[in-house]
Amino acid sequence: MVPKQLNSKAISLMTAVNCSEMNISNNPVETLVAFSIGAGIGISVFDRVCGVGGILNFMLPDSTRANGVDPENVPLMFADTGVPVFMKAFFDQGVRPETMKVVIAGGAHVMDQTAAFNIGQKNFEALKICLAGYDLKTYREDIGGTSCRTLSLEIGSGRSCIKIFGHGEVKV
């Protein structure tokens, strides 16, 4: 199982992290950006000690509920298979869970979406379970609502930015 790490399109020093992708970087002039996150969730992790940061942009909570799509081929599409791959990439670089700054954004829903069909909420619940497995707490969460979000991470400063159209942006 080989994670897609470096196949996103780099435009100048901004690198897009598309849906079902992740990117890890230690380039201090690089900014990683996950655009237009809907019900999926973007998770940015930064470690100040090692100067390493990354974003995972997953779409669905549970790889066992995707008939016809083999999670072996797209592990980063799902929380349960994507988060372990993402975390391993950090651990391989010597990052420890206790020094990780974790920011999550996304999990939006359509208006009046009933709980059973609320994929955004299920993504959030699945992610919380995954993070608890590493004893990780989030530094900032911006979850739910009916807006798409853009999540970015400046590797140089370790600062994440959550942007919502018409609502401005929050830097953390």
């Binding site: 809907g38 669905l60 799509v69 829903h109 979406q113 069909f117 994929i119 807006s147 018409g166």
Partner: protein, 282 residues
Amino acid sequence: MTDLNEIVEQIDLLEPIPPIAAQIMALAQDPNSSLSKIADLIRNDPALTANLLRTCNSVYFGLSRQVESVKDAAAMVGLDHIVRLVLLNSLSANFKKEPVGYGLGEGELWRHAVTSAHVAGMLADRFGDSQNKHLIYTAALVKDIGKLILGRFVSFSYEKINILVRSHGHSFNDAEQMVIGMNHEELGAMVGQKWHFTPKLIYIIRHHHLSDESARQDRETSLVYLADIICMMMGVCTGADGLSYRFYGDVLNRLNLSEKDLQSIIAEAGKNRQQMEILVNQ
């Protein structure tokens, strides 16, 4: 309230849809028409033929040998793909423009349209009637054409619309109607009338957010609606309106579509996204 005549006059500024698209749509829905009739129609349009052959020979299809004629293409990739490629080719000129007002960049409305159509095609194969699959695909592709015109008026009134959505719980299309006096569904339906779309196609465009209760009983409209909300959930080029549209669980129940089905459709569409990019960029 905006002068509605001023909005409607803008329809004439769109690139008119080539007549061949409507003819092929009609032939594709006629059980008595043959593949050769469609191939003959396409052959008479050199630009369309060239584009069609280019797409058939692209990595999208990954064919083992070069396709050199329309007949060849039809035999290799099948009628469904040929009809869809003709529609994509006929509509891309308008949709690739940058629509103001909805917070979308150049080409993003087109990317949303192509992805919606692809998802609608998947849904039609699973839950639809095979005779209507081209109608469902086409409706999903053109449903937001009204946004191309209404965007300018949305940008003038965005603050008011946003307050109605965020503070009063109105859907974006209802808020458009309340503030501007018209929403993108209605305006899209007017474009469809002007371009001589079939009454059913116009109906689906007019009701694709299912605000009208009777539309929720209509299978084709429901499938187009579902494709749209799946794309919103996937975050496919959603702009200022985001996911601010109503969810109707009874529609999914009526289609006998479970939450697991919904997840598997999103997964499959997500898996095909790179392939769809090839169609978006043709």
